[in-house]
Each structure stands twice: as C-alpha cells, then as structure tokens.
Symmetry: C2
Subunit: 125 residues, 2 copies
Amino acid sequence: MIKLDFDKMGGLLPTIVQDHQTGDVLMLGFMNEEAWEATLSTGQATFYSRSRQKIWVKGETSGNLQIVKEIRIDCDNDSVLLMIDQIGGAACHTGYRSCFYKQVSNGSTQNIGKPVFDPKEIYGK
Amino acid sequence: MIKLDFDKMGGLLPTIVQDHQTGDVLMLGFMNEEAWEATLSTGQATFYSRSRQKIWVKGETSGNLQIVKEIRIDCDNDSVLLMIDQIGGAACHTGYRSCFYKQVSNGSTQNIGKPVFDPKEIYGK
C-alpha cells in the first residue's frame, strides 16, 4: 500500500516530470489524490491545475500526452517523480520541449529552449 | 532582472535538484526569496525548510553540499531547476544518493536506492 503525504501542502504533491530516455526535466506540476489515482490507472500523467482548479490530463488539448514509464516517490512521501515518454516531443504550453527553457546567468535569463510547435496553431489563440 | 513568482505558493518556489552530469533527479526542495538569493550569491544550493521553518544550506550538517553548476527557471517563473555537483555523492538524509529511491509498481513501492552513507554515523542519532 502506498501512503502519500497529501496533507503537507493542502492536498497537493509537487510532481517532477522527467524524460525517461534522455533524463531531461520537462516540467513540474501538482497532483491531488484524484490526479495521482488517475495517473496510476490510465498510465497518462494527470495533474491538478491550481489556476483552473481542476484535474487536467497533460496534453488533452495539444495531444502532447505523457506516457508514464516509471514512477518514483521520495523519502518523505511528499514528492513524485514521473519518468515519461513525451508524445509530440514538447511538454511546455509555449511549444518548447521543456518548461525549464530559461537559463539564469549574471542576474538575467537567456532563452535556451528548443521550439517544437507553435502554440498559436495548437491552442488557437 | 529575474522576476520569480513567490506569491503563488505563499512565498515558496518548488525547486528540483538534478545531478548536472548524470541527469539523475536527486531531490525536491523549496526556496523562499532569501534562499534563492543565497543560492545565487554563494553558489551552494540553499532551501527553506518547511518543517524547521528556517533557511537551510543543503549539506551544512552532513557536509554533502550541492555546488550549483546551472540554474533554470520555468515558463511561469514559479519553479526552479538546479543542476548541481553533489559533494559526497548523496543528496538524501537517509544516506541514499537520491531522495527518489522508492519505485512504484503494482500498488506498492520497492527500494531501489543506492546507499552512500550511514545516517547514524553522519547525524549521530
């Protein structure tokens, strides 16, 4: 039986998404218990959107689903690591491969992202 | 000028720590603004401990400091990725290399961690 600590952060677990082949960190999302159960039962990364306050299957709009290959949880049972296969090659809603496309150097950030799709075409706005 | 969104989570940013050479995800911590500034100015990963409610230089007790090699921030400026060099080889207070040493399979977890040190010897309890 897996006992996750959802209480520590008001029902949410920070969840790291990593490409299971390259090791690239693609995004960080949050899961509530329903999203966790859905991820386990469907094998597709599912999160809780704090801004929209609802369950959200990653890629449900763009088609860029994340197929779960391996799941790990941490020492304190309060963080999750999903190792996934990124359908469509891009995890970020901006069209970049990874959400972490801003590199910090000397007090500013530099965009080092790899554009995969044009968000205007995918989301229609 | 780097503008991080500390407001979204009550002053804290979830921060992923990744080995800059192997790509292994080692831990997830939280930074408040003071921890972020300290990380930038010292080059050592510094967090805010939610349980102890104070700033915490990773490795200050065990000696297992994390030397920051690269910092990335995400699309929404609300998550940080630290790519680091793990002094002593272990990030987890349990003595494992990574905090994510529990692999989920078939409704239970399996310990796949690599023990690096004995926490009883390091923390003296």
